[in-house]
């Protein structure tokens, strides 16, 4: 449903739905996983009906996230190929964070930071799935040495991934006019021209 015909379509309904399946499963996994990680977070298990339910559900939600992330990965991996312009953007990310984005190099649909985020999250998912499987005692029985390594990898990777998602969410909040792209799919032309000028040119044919 496009209210302003001049708005630009950034995400299709399928892309948005796919993103939110990943997003919801991530939130459920982070909350239940933190409960097993540190006693300070154990009360979060109550959100799932107690510790035992959290323990039962966590890996199944993990399977849902792994599958939906894989679909998302194939949807967006080509768009996230790093280019020299992205590296240039990344080398000057300090200016961007400082709130001074006037001279940043022109970016396509995604900037270097978003692309780096994409590949970092994909690596996290790979490590989390591999380490999560070895810890899933309901279905798998692997040597204890592997489980111990898996536990460390799972916890460390999960902490990194939660931090990355904090940055992902904050970036969407910080850059005004962004979140609507994931809610209903469109952005304003001005938003596109300011933040992703090369993409703006490509979709509008204007300079």
């Amino acid at each position: 449903m496009i209210r302003n015909p001049k708005d630009l379509a950034r995400y299709t309904a399928h892309e948005r739905a796919n993103h939110w399946v990943v997003g919801i499963s991530f939130i459920l996994l982070a909350l239940s996983g933190l409960a097993f990680f540190h006693p300070a977070f154990f009360p979060l298990a109550q959100l799932f009906g107690g510790g035992t339910w959290a323990r039962i559900l966590h890996p199944y939600v993990g399977v849902l996230m792994a599958v939906s992330f894989l679909v998302l990965f194939f949807r967006f991996s080509a768009l996230n190929a790093m280019t020299p312009a992205d590296r240039e953007w990344l080398s000057r990310v300090g200016e961007m964070v400082d709130g001074n984005d006037h001279d940043m190099p022109e970016q396509g649909k995604y900037n270097g930071g978003q692309k780096l985020m994409f590949w970092a999250l994909a690596l996290c998912m790979l490590l989390l799935v591999a380490s999560g499987i070895v810890m899933w005692r309901a279905w798998f029985d692997v040597p204890v040495g592997v489980i111990r390594l898996g536990a460390v990898v799972h916890a460390a990777t999960a902490a990194v991934m939660i931090a990355l998602i904090f940055v992902h969410v904050y970036a969407a909040i910080w850059v005004k006019g962004t979140i609507r792209a994931m809610w209903y799919g469109t952005v304003t032309r001005a938003w596109a021209k300011q933040h992703h000028r090369a993409w703006y040119r490509q979709v509008t044919g204007k300079s």
Binding site: P39, F42, R148, F166, Y170, W174
Partner: protein
Amino acid sequence: MALQSLDITRRSATTTPAPSVRQTTEVAKLIDVSACIGCKACQAACMEWNDIRDEIGTCHGVYDNPMDLTAKSWTVMRYAEVEQDGRLEWLIRKDGCMHCADPGCLKACPAPGAILQYANGIVDFHEEHCIGCGYCITGCPFNIPRLSKEDGKAYKCSLCSDRVAVGQAPACIKACPTGALQFGAKEQMKHYAEERIHDLQSRGYQKAGLYDPPGVGGTHVMYVLHHADQPELYSRLPNDPGISPLVSLWKGVAKPLATLALAGVALGSLFHYVTKGPNEVSKELEDELEKEDAK
């Protein structure tokens, strides 16, 4: 266990001190392997007192029965045939929880109060708080806890904490016909062990000794071994057990570090917004586009 609520040394997944005003004597079970005849009376007594009956298994052609610890078999006799100095030796070891002073199971457990260590040294699982994750198995240096397929909870030897709480010896001790199993204050057990070791040494077992591994802070189940220099002979009793460095990392420094890092990223984002302000679309760009439209 209400009776012991005042003498808890450690409580799983709990960061504040456990109720510990009352000091009790450290206890220990001493297993004198050299006096064990492998009769399995201890196994039978364990089943009887704890009122659990394992599935009836099949004969594997060896004495071991059941072949391994299970959620319903908290102690098993392990029979090893080894050659020492050209002689065949039949080494029989009663396997079960060692009740470590530094328990890996308790360190790894994420469920508050599912594992308790009493001041008397007993490490006890409280299954009503167990969430069934199996982290205790991951943390244990002796491969002791077992998850039940029926209820998904972890079980192991309780050193008959209910009996010890009222001044009784564990059931296995009462059943042992040879005195291979002894129970009492840990100091007293060490003293008794010394006599046994001295006797074994005088009879040609020069390497006889006490198994009270310091890597786990000592244990509250100790062995007198005729070959204390080679504990692996006794059905792979670990030579120098300790909590795996991976488990220490996972349930040690990683916890506060990761928590601080996450808090840092969250607060850093908040203060970035507050200090730098939102990244809004510039008014000039919007006006420019509006002018284009008006043409």
